[in-house]
């Protein structure tokens, strides 16, 4: 599954993922990429070890802090907390059905997928938002076989991760695990030219703008894609 992944996050994106400084939506996209990509899994373990090494070796000045009393508080709190690990009450969903197709979900999306919004369908395309805040929106995007997303540009950043099936645009061909990043300068037409449906995870920082002919009529519908 991981061998064919060719489009990876940059090292700096991985570093920000590892130190926890990415926005939750972008972090979720990177985490999902890792579920597909042994190479980046190993890199991120290395980065964590490196960050932890500087953290642990950092010299600290002797301060006024009363660590002994904090430790006693922690131990007292541990006594009163019955179960150390509270199991999550959210259902874990390993499969997703859309457009009459079943998709297997990667680990990172299994809990969250039960919290998605309703599917909005437009032709062969459907989208459902996952819980997210500002400034990024994160959605599942279904593209049926032989279907194109109308050509568009972005006011902001668009990040797409292929979860199942395959997709092409002006730059290349993408398979599950591949990460595609488009900046405001890029114009592209993602298409599914295969005979199988395609499922993607999409992070947007601003609505899409459609460029060509009749598709400009879609601009009032841009919230659909956001």
């Amino acid at each position: 599954m991981g061998n064919s992944v060719k489009h990876h996050p940059s090292l700096s994106l991985l570093e920000q993922f590892c130190d926890g400084s990415l926005t939750p939506e972008v972090a979720l996209l990177v985490a999902t990429h890792l579920d597909f990509c042994p190479h980046c899994q190993r890199l991120s373990k290395d980065i964590e070890a490196d960050l932890a090494c500087s953290f642990a070796a950092a010299p600290v000045a002797a301060g006024q802090d009363d660590w002994l009393s904090m430790m006693q508080q922690v131990l007292a709190e541990a006594e009163t907390t019955a179960k150390p690990v509270t199991p999550s009450t959210d259902p874990v969903v390993t499969n997703l059905e859309v457009g009459g197709h079943q998709f297997e979900l990667p680990r990172a999306l299994q809990r969250l997928s039960s919290k998605r919004s309703k599917w909005l369908t437009l032709g062969g395309i459907a989208t459902a938002r996952l819980p997210s805040g500002e400034p990024h929106h994160i959605s599942l995007l279904f593209i049926d076989k032989n279907t194109a997303v109308p050509q568009h540009t972005h006011k902001g950043l668009e990040m797409t991760l292929v979860l199942a099936g395959e997709m092409v645009d002006e730059q290349g061909r993408y398979v599950p695990g591949d990460l595609i990043i488009n900046t405001p300068d890029d114009t592209h037409t993602p298409r599914n030219v295969s005979d199988d449906p395609c499922l993607c995870l999409s992070v947007l920082s601003a609505p899409l703008q459609f460029k060509q002919g009749m598709t400009r009529l879609l601009n009032p519908l841009q919230r659909f894609f956001y």
């Binding site: 070890a49 950092a58 922690v74 969250l112």
Partner: protein, 219 residues
Amino acid sequence: MLDQRRTYGHHASQFANNSPGLMDTTETASPLNLGQWEEALGLIAINRDKSAYAGLFNYFAPRLKAFGIKMFGNEQQAMEMVQDTMLNVWQKAALFDPTRGCASTWIYTIARNVRFDMLRKKQSRKDDISADDLWSDGDYPEQEDLQSHSWDLYIIAEKIAPHFAALPPAQRVVMEKVYLEENSHQEVAEQLGIPLGTVKSRIRLALDRLREAVDGQQR
């Protein structure tokens, strides 16, 4: 589970197996006193050993606080993060697996996750993306990767030199010792007083960084 060195002294056992007598060198050279914290976590997990916990607390709490202040920018949240992280360390010590990495990495990732969830709760986004969704508990299957090795000779010989200077100092020192001075990974670990695993991970990170630099050049 009975052989403590095997179970808890991840790095210590690595060194001891490969090169007897090396322990002393690394212990004096390293600020971390290799193996100590892995062993402490083992004692906490099995015996609920409060004195082992106190030792760990005294070492890591101030460092967690410094990390928290850097990330939050204020002391109150930093202290909340320290307390929550150290509670997790006490409660989850049995989940620590020394074959997957050293104690400081485990504690660092707990702190990172605690911080992430604190930020989320502060924004009242309880249903939202949580640290558990993002960071699996290290349960990816182990993968052998031969890519870095096949790259070794090729990229060093080629147009790598100009990018060498741009490497983070810690990685550059390791790369110079391995590729220019032709030391073994083990020797570099010994000279710098760092775990063998750290030498290897710095090399992989540096190689990846150089690969990225070369890719950028070709475009």
